[in-house]
Structure formats: structure tokens, C-alpha cells
Symmetry: C2
Subunit: 225 residues, 2 copies
């Protein structure tokens, strides 16, 4: 699967959160970053870019409960009706939203009153119209106040959001780690490579055991019915 991250921010060099996110995907395979600049878009080129990727991610800071104007301009210019009828069908659409409010404040009865799912409904409607699968929103709240530990957790979750298959199962999560570990084993040499290989073997063995266990549970459920 190839992923296109479309980044809309008026000044990326000044944004710590965008810099962090961009660095987080630097070494990921199959990921293209596309930073929107304030110019006329060449529609054909943008279509080509979309065509080459299966997961499309809009990444931006929340401005007035939506994306910055530049992303809307890109959408108005590039998402032609002609295109919509065709090749977006079956692709995935995700949102990575940085924001200066806590995630908790987006709820009925709280300060912002509405949930993020409600606020970004226009993007869900867009996905719906284009026959795309809408992914859960990935919020990055109050980045400036995060500890180094929090940032590490976000880094992993973000890398998964960008590259992991869209299944909320433990097996999917484990597969993703095993794949990443395999890449790492190939890059390393000598004793470090051997140590990583041992970890990898243990994880894979673990998975075999888990598969057997899952099979057993299924059998038992079947007998119960």
C-alpha cells in the first residue's frame, strides 16, 4: 500500500508539530509527502499523484473548525466531478489534525461542544461521495506540552496511521511491528543483527502460538452455538 500525505500549513518551517510529523515518516517506505504551496495547482499532476496512492491523508492544523484555506483551494481545484467518478473509489481518506485544544474538550457539554467526528463531517461526506473509506481521525493535541515519552508514543501511532492496514486487531498491530523489525534486521550487521533476529523469531513464534489459540477459541465458540 502506498500513502500520500497532503500537508496544508501556512508556514511549515515554523511548526514544531509538522516538523516532528514529517521527520517521523522520513524512513518509511511507500510514503509520499506533498506540501501544498500557495500557487495555482496543475490539476493533471495532482490527479496523477492521487492515482499512484491508495491511502490519502490530509494533514493540517485546525483553523476555525476546519482545514486551512489552502487545502480547500486544493480540493476546489483538484477534485473535479470527472475525477470523482473514477479512480478515488476504494481508496482510503485519513485526517491528521494538530490542534491547540485538548482532545477532551471536543464533546457535548464540554468547551467545544461538538466531537471531532462531528466537526469534520464535511470530509466524511467527501469520502462518502468519492466511494472512499473514511479512516478514524488522528488528532495531535497540544503538541507543545507533550513529554518526550508522549511524543514517542505518538510517533509509533502516527507511523501506523500512515502505513498500517486499517484493522483494529492485535494481529494487525503485531504484523506491522514484525514487518518493521524485519526491515531493521536487514539494515543492521554483526551482533546487533543477531540480537534483533532473536527478537523477531520470538515474535513470530509467539504469533504462531496466538494463531493456534485463536483457532481453538473459534472452535469452542462454534461448539457452543
Amino acid at each position: 500500500m502506498k500513502t500520500l500525505i497532503i500537508i496544508a500549513h501556512p508556514d511549515i518551517t515554523e511548526s514544531n508539530s509538522q516538523q516532528f510529523l514529517i521527520e517521523s515518516t522520513q524512513n518509511l517506505q511507500g510514503v509520499t509527502r506533498h506540501i501544498l504551496e500557495n500557487r495555482a495547482f496543475i490539476v493533471k499532476e495532482e490527479h496523477q499523484l492521487l492515482a499512484e496512492h491508495e491511502r490519502i491523508i490530509f494533514q493540517f492544523p485546525m483553523y476555525w473548525y476546519s482545514a486551512p484555506a489552502i487545502l480547500k483551494k486544493w480540493l476546489d481545484d483538484v477534485f473535479t466531478n470527472q475525477m470523482m467518478k473514477g479512480f478515488l473509489n476504494g481508496k482510503e481518506l485519513g485526517l491528521v489534525v494538530t490542534m491547540g485544544q485538548s482532545e477532551e474538550s471536543f464533546a457535548a457539554g464540554r468547551k467545544e461542544k461538538f466531537s471531532l467526528s462531528e466537526i469534520f463531517k464535511p470530509f466524511e461526506a467527501l469520502a462518502n461521495k468519492c466511494g472512499m473509506t473514511y479512516l478514524p481521525i488522528f488528532p495531535v493535541a497540544l503538541f507543545g506540552y507533550l513529554t518526550e515519552d508522549d511524543k514517542k508514543k505518538i510517533l509509533i501511532k502516527y507511523q501506523q496511521y500512515v502505513t498500517k492496514e486499517n484493522k483494529e486487531t492485535f494481529i494487525s498491530e503485531e504484523s506491522w511491528f514484525i514487518d518493521r523489525l524485519r526491515l531493521l534486521v536487514e539494515q543492521k550487521k554483526g551482533p546487533e543483527q543477531m540480537r534483533l533476529e532473536t527478537v523477531l523469531e520470538a515474535m513470530e513464534e509467539n504469533r504462531d502460538n496466538l494463531d493456534e489459540l485463536l483457532y481453538l477459541v473459534k472452535e469452542m465458540r462454534y461448539e457452543d452455538d
Copy 2:
């Protein structure tokens, strides 16, 4: 009450619906139309304009379940946090949305899946944040297919949306008509003025009767409790 209509459309001269709406408010008092052009906004001037009006209306065609990019640019530029803390509080925010789909298609189970209230949630959140009263959305669907009769009905409803106080009562509706009629009586002369005066008198007498009736109903309800 003074009303500011902020119009966002890439080419107003080419839009029959925008032309119709603009003409509909041509003779209304206390209404300012502000057509957004693709240029840098002078924030201070825009703030001044907002400060001078109590009802703010965003008028635009729906593009990808939101306003055209130019309105978002205006919002991102003009709605500063500093401003927000101050003078928007207590004002009203309305949306006039032209669209190429039927109103009915915006519902769960229908083609567009989501209601207009859901789709324009970001504007409700904006009003909420700024302490503004959010008015019901005014949709103008499939303008090109409307009969002359339908258009006349929309004209009246639209003029009311722009100038009538925000109360869904019969009395509020009647007051609006009486006020408009009074203006007309002043402009006319001779027998036409007399005829209109007779209508006006009849309506006002009617209202007195209605007031008495409403009072009576209230009394009866009170006795029932």
C-alpha cells in the same frame, strides 16, 4: 438591525442564483453586501465592517460540503483570536447556501447521507466559539429548475432571512410584512397610497384582534393548570 451579507463565489456575474439573491436585497434598508475578491484582506477594514452590523450572513455555493476556499481564506485572515474575544459576542450568524442537489437528499439513508445541519457543523462551532447566535441554514436548492412562482416565494423568505427578527412566530412574520407595507405606503401617492393604507389598517386591526385572542388563549391555559 443591520445585516452584512458576505458573498463568496468565484464568478458572481456567471451565477444566476447569486444575481437573483443580490437583486432581492437591492431595495432593503440596513443591508450591506460584501463580495469577497481574491486579494489580501485588510483585516482592520473587515473588522470595522463586522462591527457595524448585528447579523452576519455567509452566502455561497456548496463546494465539497463546505464554502468555497475564498471564504475560508477570509475567515483565517480576519477572525483573529483578539477579535473573537470582543465584539462578535451577541451577533447572529446565518448561512445562505446554494446547491446543485435537492434538499431532501441531505438526510440519513438518502444520497448525501448527512443533513445540512451536520455538514455545516464547523460554522455552528464557529458561532458557538464567538458567542454568536446561529441561525437556521437557508438553502437554495436547484435554482435553475425553479418556477417563477417558486422564485417569488424564495425572494420573500430570503428577504425575511436577511432582515426579519429571528423568531418563528406568526406575529413576527406579520410585523415584518406590516413594516414593509408602511415603507411602501410612504413611497406611493394618490389613490394607490390610499388603497395600500386601507390594507395596512386592515392588517393592523387584524393584529389587535389576534393579540386579544392570544391573551384569551393564555388565560384559558392558565385556568387549566
